[in-house]
Amino acid sequence: MNRGMKYIDDFRDPATAKALVERIRRDAGDAPVRLMEVCGTHTVAIARGGIRPLLSGSVTMLSGPGCPVCVTPDGYIDAAIALGTERGVLLASFGDMLRVPGKSSSLEKEKGAGLEVRVVYSPLDAVTLAAAMPDREVVFLGVGFETTAPAIGGAIKTASVREVGNFSVLSSVRTIPEAMGVLAADPEVRIEGFLCPAHVSVVIGTDAYRPVARRYGIPCVVAGFEPLDILLGISMLLRQKKEGVARVENEYSRVATATGNRKAQDLIRDVFVPCDTGWRGIGVIPGSGLRIADRYASFDAEVKFGAPVVFAPERTACRCGDVLKGKILPVDCPLFGKACVPEEPYGPCMVSSEGSCAAYYKYGVL
């Protein structure tokens, strides 16, 4: 196996991983400590890294709602499909969104029936696409958290400067700290420590978690996504718990800083405005969304096409909401592995590439 990728392979060293696991086992108490990894990318990294079995007995990892695909309402998918099928819009999207179920269909299924969807790696690619076909309306499905918000904002600004009038964004951007607050306050969830997202923190700064740590007395550690980052981050949380403190610590110091990326934050403030937003499976969380600011209304697909995205309560059998809040593990959902499997997902946690249920199903040792 090739081992030469700088700043990646160094953080996957097996000997150090073993030592960190030993450290975690020594620091853990009699009952497994309940830690929540907020970010879906951590959920997948933990699953793919085979880390969960190593923590058994010492730590229970609860998967949080930091999966932007999982928490996007099914009304959003329906609105996107309608734009494509009824208004002839060309949709551009990250690959993550393709198989997410809306009320009755998904982008992938509709693609099979003629809906035009292009998968792009960057929102800027969607602007380039629009510029190359001025007679077509192109809508980018702007789904993500604060890591992606600056990129989506950057695309809108680029379209504005280059006067690409046929480009717009159907926004589904959410912010993390408010959701963490909701979970920290929920007595049923009982979180003893937050493993905080690496790249959201790079943008918003690690200080953003200080209110949660202070108000709820929950230790917070920002950790990178490589196996050693995750193990060290978990170890740091256990040590805080042992000491009886609740601070914000930064394991990902090679990239994340206390104050974050000011330029990216300024861009977010320019292009977006905070708003109350519904999270699939959770409900409305005040101040947890970012909608496109009025000055960029011509790039806001909801305004441009008069197509507001409707947030509505979920089909009741799906327990994604409880999974996203860490109240139950995926295996506790009655549909898991039966009516709800990756090929025919009932809820978003199973279809998203980083949904907790998908991670358990694909990588868990069943």
Binding site: T16, T41, S122, T148, T158, H199, S253, N261
Partner: protein, 77 residues
């Protein structure tokens, strides 16, 4: 939501840069950061550099890992 990779700046110009990772190159936007030079490392997400990577801090983290690995192999706790 956070898939981003460390890559090295190979060329810069006009708000954009070409980065390299494992011999693979892509043009990315520098809209979100200031003052990058060739040879520096950045974290890339969705076609944008979202922050610089501090080689010094990375080395400190790696030194901590080495310490932990050595402590474990010598039987300390």
């Amino acid at each position: 939501m956070c898939l981003a990779v460390p890559a090295k700046i190979m060329e810069t110009g006009d708000g954009a840069a070409v980065v390299e990772l494992g011999g693979v190159r892509r043009e990315i936007s520098l809209m979100l950061i200031d003052d990058v030079s060739v040879g520096e490392w950045v974290i890339v997400h969705a076609g944008f550099a979202i922050e610089k990577l501090s080689e010094e801090e990375a080395e400190q983290t790696l030194a901590l890992f080495r310490e932990i690995a050595e402590a474990d192999s010598s039987g300390d706790s």
